[in-house]
Every structure is written in C-alpha cells, then in structure tokens.
C-alpha cells in the first residue's frame, strides 16, 4: 500500500499520485480506507449523528477488533465529546492508528486535536460524510482571529459570525489549526444579497 502524505493537511490517503494532490486542501478518500495492517491498536472516533458515520465506524471496528485491541469513541458533537476524545488520545500508545469519521467540520478539528497530541499523518485516517459541495467548515477569520463554524466551501464566501464581515474562504487549510483561512471580500454582506 502506498501512502501519500497530503501537504498542508497531513491526512494520509492511499493510492494517489503526489502530483494529483491539490496543495493546501484536504483530500478526502471516496471510500473509507481499510485499517492499517501494521497497527498494534486502533482508535475509532465517530463524530456526529449522520447515519453514514455510524456505518463507517462500525465497519472499521469490525475489521480491526478481530486483529488488534480496538476502541470506539462516539461523540455526538465536539463540545460534549471533547473530554472523551482527549481522554482517549491521552491513553493511546505509539502503534495506534486513529481513524476519524464524521462531517468535515468535526473531522478537521478532531484531526488537529490528534496532531496537537503528537499524532502524525501516518497514524491518522479520516473519512467525511459530506465531502461534496458547501457544508459546515471550521473557518479562521483573519480579522476577528477566531475559528467559527461557517457554511460554505473553499473559494466561496460566508458571513463571519464573529465580526459580520463577508469572508472569502480561501483554499488554504491549516492542519495544525484544523481550519480554513478566510478574509474580507471587501463587500458588505447585504450588497451581495442585494446583487
């Protein structure tokens, strides 16, 4: 299996030539990746209540638990599941493969949390249930300097819930922060609505 480290996001994907990888953006596999056969343990993080999340997490757990010690942590939302995720990351040992599934917003922030705990791209796998089209994303506003949950897509616009500016969501993702960079379009949100 060839594993390619994706620039900027560090999400590992398989079977993709490096030249095809869009720089600065997460690349989501079309189908869930298999459990790494070299793993000593597996931690599955299932985020959100989407039915596909439960399906993918269940498949990963079934695949892994026959081979290695496997733990499943379910977090319906990031706020209530925060402590469980952190406790699981504190408990894992090198040799673990962390497999994250859920909507982009939760998965990107959780991957950043995993990295903050010391996980590297080779130890992370991710699958998102909302890969196509505009969706909720973690967006870092360059003006109010905070990360917000905004609906949109890279290259599109969204109104900042912190400073009310109309932001352009840049195709520039930070693996460390988990968020996309966004900055003022220079137009008022109302102007755009009127247009």
């Amino acid at each position: 299996m060839t594993t390619v480290e994706i620039a900027a996001t560090g999400i590992a994907a398989t079977g993709i030539a490096a030249t095809e990888v869009p720089l600065g953006l997460p690349h989501w596999p079309a189908v869930p990746e298999p459990v790494d056969p070299t793993a000593a343990t597996v931690l599955v993080l299932a985020l959100g209540g989407h039915p596909r999340t439960a399906e993918v997490a269940g498949a990963w757990v079934r695949e892994a638990e026959g081979r290695v010690p496997t733990r499943l942590v379910v977090a319906d939302d990031l706020a209530t599941g925060h402590d469980d995720v952190v406790a699981a990351l504190d408990a894992v040992r090198i040799g673990v493969r962390i497999m994250v599934v859920g909507p982009q917003h939760d998965v990107l922030l959780t991957l950043a949390r995993c990295r903050a705990h010391g996980a590297s791209g080779a130890e992370l796998r991710a699958f998102v249930v909302d890969a196509e089209g505009p969706t909720d994303l973690p967006v870092y506003c360059a003006h109010c300097r905070a990360t917000h949950r905004l609906h949109g897509e890279p290259g599109g616009t969204a109104v900042c819930t912190g400073c009310a500016r109309l932001l352009e969501i840049h195709p520039h993702h930070s693996a460390a922060r988990g968020s996309f960079l966004a900055s003022d379009t220079g137009t008022e949100p109302d102007d755009q609505v009127a247009a």
């Binding site: 894992v92 040992r93 090198i94 673990v96 705990h117 010391g118 590297s120 080779a122 130890e123």
Partner: protein, 340 residues
Amino acid sequence: MSATLQPEAPVRYAAHQHAAYRTGPRLLRVAEVRALTTEVRHVVLVDPDGGHLAPYEPGAHVVLTTDPGGPGEKRNAYSLTDDGFNPRRYAISVLRREQGSAWVHGLAAGDLVEVEGPRSAFAPRHDQRHALLVAGGIGVTPVLSHARAIVRWGGSAEVLYSYRPGHAAHLDDLRALAEREDVTLHEATTVAATAALLADRLADQPLGTHAYACGPVPLLETYVDAARAAGWPEHRVHLERFTAPELDPGVPFTATLASTGERLAVPPGTSLLEALLATGRAVPNLCRQGVCGECEVPVRRGAVEHRDLVLSDAAKECGDRMLACVSRAARADDDIEVDL
C-alpha cells in the same frame, strides 16, 4: 603526539565567519583524558585559544584524523556526549577497537588533534514530544547527548541502556540524569533482558514519541523488529550504526563518468569509491562501510544494488544516487553512469 593540520584538507562546510562557528578541519587541544572503563576513554577537546566551539545538535559527531602522517592515518567519527549548547569543549568517549581508536587512547592532555565537524547525522526530530533512547555498549555516547539536551530544554525521555557489567561507560551520568522526574533509566545486562525490555517499552510510549537507538548491529536489528511488532510507523524509529555487516565482494561492473565519458572497470572486491579515487577524483569518504553517507554520488543511469545502511527505501527506489563505498551495479557487467 600532536597533529599538524593537513593544508590540503578540504573545507566541506563553509560555515559562519566567526571563528567560534568553524566546522572545517582545525586543530583542537586535548584538555583531559579519563578512563571510563578498561576499554573506553573519555577525551575532552578545547579550542587552543580558549574560545567557544561551534554548537551542535544532540547526536552529532566529530571526525578525528588519527595517526596523522603515520602509517595508520585514518579519519574516524566519534559521537559527542554533551548537549551541544554553546560549547567550550567537545567530549568524546572512545572504545578501543582498532588502530585509530588505539591512537586516540594514546592521547594525553596538551596534544593537538585535527578535528572536523561537528556534523549532525542523528538529530532529534523537531516534533518530538517524548523520546525513547536506546543505547547498546559504546552506542551510549549519542544517546547521552540526546538525554542531556532533553534535560536542558525541558523534555522527557526514557533511556534503555544495554551493557556488559563492568563495561558500562557513562552509566553514572545516565543514573544521575534519571534522578529527575522526567527521565527514566532502564538497564539490561543480557541479550534476552534487552529484547524483553525493548518489547515492553516500545509497547508503552505516548503519542508523539520518537525512538532513537545506537549500538551494535544485533541490538539495532532487535530494536527495529520490536518497533515494527509494536506498530511503530517507520518515521518514528531512528538509529545510528557504527558498524556494518560484512559484505560479499559483489559483481563486476563498469562505471561511466558523465563529465568525461571515461569508463572505469570495477572488479569484484573493489568498490566504486576505490575505482574513483584511483583515477584521482577527490570523492569525500569516511567509514567506507555504507554507514556514514559521506561518499554519496549522483547516478544518471543504471540499476544499482544498494548495500548501504544510510539511504531511505524511497531514496534507493528513486535510483538517482548511490554510496560508492559499498553499492554496486544490480547485475554483473552492467554499466552505471555517475554524474561526476
């Protein structure tokens, strides 16, 4: 027993202009020689003018010219044992093994020695959250350097030291470091205990740990196998070798020099490095056993049988470079075009 600086010695790393940042060949004075065990001597080198020396990353080494001008003249690499921060001394610990190390054992305070470096080939990774440091025998020297740097900069480490009782250089230093809360020392004195300890400790390291090992080949093989068994990704498993396995003489092949078109015959038992040096080409080299990486040459064409312990699997697969001291053509009578 003092060296004179060889005027033609090439300065490989043009460094900072301040004298304290010199890393090219220069003479340093022996300040202290101390026996750590019956076979290991600790040698401290200082600037003859009393100045600062170039700082170095933990795990770095210096290259000493042993027996300069004599029949046993050789350049030997020795790991530095301090943390490398703003040094006024370079300390090495040398196991008496062959002519070069025997010459070092004969040094006395006041002698001048030609030293090149420090050179970093076994540095800590910058994303390291915690370190598992594994030392076997005299492989303790770079491990001690890593441990001291971790203590200086406030990290945490587990040190695993495998040694023969009565022959453990720097055991007192490691035990002193382990009195701190953030450093743990595990000791093993048999092969079986070392293997069991390796398996146990590799299975219990927190996320973000990097492992580093230096020691004899069997210990490093056990370490790599145990790390693989414990599911460690390769990029977290680091090692430094100071010996290499014996190699067979290899197949005959030819090497074409891209600059001149000249073709060199390389018979079995002769390395490409020796063939190149025989033509008068100044190919840098040091260990001549595929361990140090000094004699890497660019390859333009031809399939290479890589027999070194330096290049990564990806670099070997890429096929654009080879270590001239050990690697050869993949098949007998093949031609390799080197970019020299």
